[in-house]
């Protein structure tokens, strides 16, 4: 194969993988949030988490459909969601972490909402007009999610001794997964050169400033530990993803082609 044919193919594959990362991050978080249905501490929060879940799954559907088209092998959103195994999933490791208590779910949500505000905000200006349209659609929902998650972060952080301690514990536990959020790898860098994806190191300080401000209001401490560089978006996951997929994919795996 000549370089002339190899290069566009590699480019197309990188593009597809980039969109899949965004798609899988939304899908896996949507699935995690759906686990709360019927179990949240109050009816209002049950509805809120279900609504968030629905938004994330909706975003995932738009992104998965697009990724399938970029891949060009005839896989639609369902094939990508239900018939891939864990190492083929490219979500951030943060979103596959178990729900824990309500505070733990809120910390995870707030970290990812703040990340999505930066990512979608930048992708609105992507040279990829399809991705820009999905980002412009999604960021309106993200702003609403962030208002919810940052509101609870402050209420529980600056709450009782018990709620504050639980929030700090959740933050300490989840912080190691944040290094991945703005650490570019070769796919991020390649897509950035093409004008499709933002330069992650440029977005990191904005995320960091927002996080610090919210933590100050919530009277929580930013963990000092050096975050461990997980690479979920490269397909390297914690053991939790397999269990999540086991439940999410069970029906299609057991009864291939089953329809609702």
């Amino acid at each position: 194969m000549s370089a002339a044919t190899t290069l566009p193919e590699a480019q197309q594959e990188a593009h597809c993988r980039y969109v899949l990362r965004l798609a899988d991050t939304s899908l896996v978080l949507g699935q995690r949030l759906a686990e709360w249905i019927g179990y949240a501490p109050a009816l209002e929060e049950d509805l809120a988490l279900a609504n968030l879940s629905l938004d994330f799954i909706g975003q995932a559907r738009l992104l998965l459909t697009y990724a399938g088209e970029l891949e060009g092998r005839g896989r639609d959103e369902d094939a990508l969601a239900f018939l891939r195994d864990a190492p083929e999933f490219l979500n951030l490791a943060l979103v596959e972490q178990p729900n824990g208590d309500f505070g733990h779910t809120i910390v995870r949500q707030w970290l990812i909402d703040a990340w999505q505000l930066e990512i979608y905000g930048a992708l609105e200006h992507s040279t990829d007009t399809r991705l820009a349209a999905i980002a412009a659609k999604s960021i309106r929902e993200t702003r609403y999610h962030y208002r919810f998650s940052s509101g609870w972060l402050v209420r529980l952080g600056d709450g009782t001794a018990e709620s504050r301690e639980r929030m700090q514990r959740a933050l300490d536990d989840l912080w190691r997964f944040t290094a991945e959020l703005f650490a570019p790898d070769e796919i991020d860098e390649r897509l950035n050169r093409e004008g499709i994806a933002p330069a992650l190191p440029e977005l990191a300080p904005r995320w960091s400033a927002r996080v610090d401000e919210d933590l100050r209001r919530a009277t929580l401490r930013r963990p000092a530990t050096q975050p461990y560089p997980w690479h979920g978006k490269g397909g390297v996951h914690t053991e939790h993803l397999g269990h999540l997929l086991g439940e999410m994919q069970h029906l299609q795996r057991s009864y291939p082609g089953a329809r609702w």
Partner: protein, 177 residues
Amino acid sequence: MPAVPDPLPAASALAGPRTRERQIWQLLATVLDPEIPVLSIVDLGIVREVREEAGRLRVAITPTYSGCPATEVIRGLVRAALDAGGHPDAVLEEVLSPPWTSDWLTPAGREKLRSFGIAPPEQSVTNPRELRPPPTVSCPRCASRDTQRVSEFGSTPCKAHYRCAACGEPFDYFKCL
């Protein structure tokens, strides 16, 4: 923001080069949102374009929320209305850009919401950096401004949950988003 033809043309005006497009707008004004069945999809502002070019008719609609389960139902209802209305050749497309916001609700749509018991959105969302704090919402039953937010989320993706302190009734508020 591209304007929806408003008011919709009267039947007597249905003549001339744009006849078929106008017929389709009227047809779409009879397709109701399955979750809020007083609101047509034209009221909701999700019909983006009806265009006939070189004999090819294109109808473009846009989703409200990414994950709104009504989106697929609406697509099916529009398809059925087009087919039944004698336009089986019309191509139905989904567009994402510019994204739908609650600003696309028509004035008529807002009034229909209120009379149905759902408070219409109180703010414009044009280019917000962040969504502002929730506004004071009027009770759709007694019009009191003395209302409280119970939850920013409600029974469908497009609604929040409020309560009126004056008449004591709970009610839905159509989110500004």
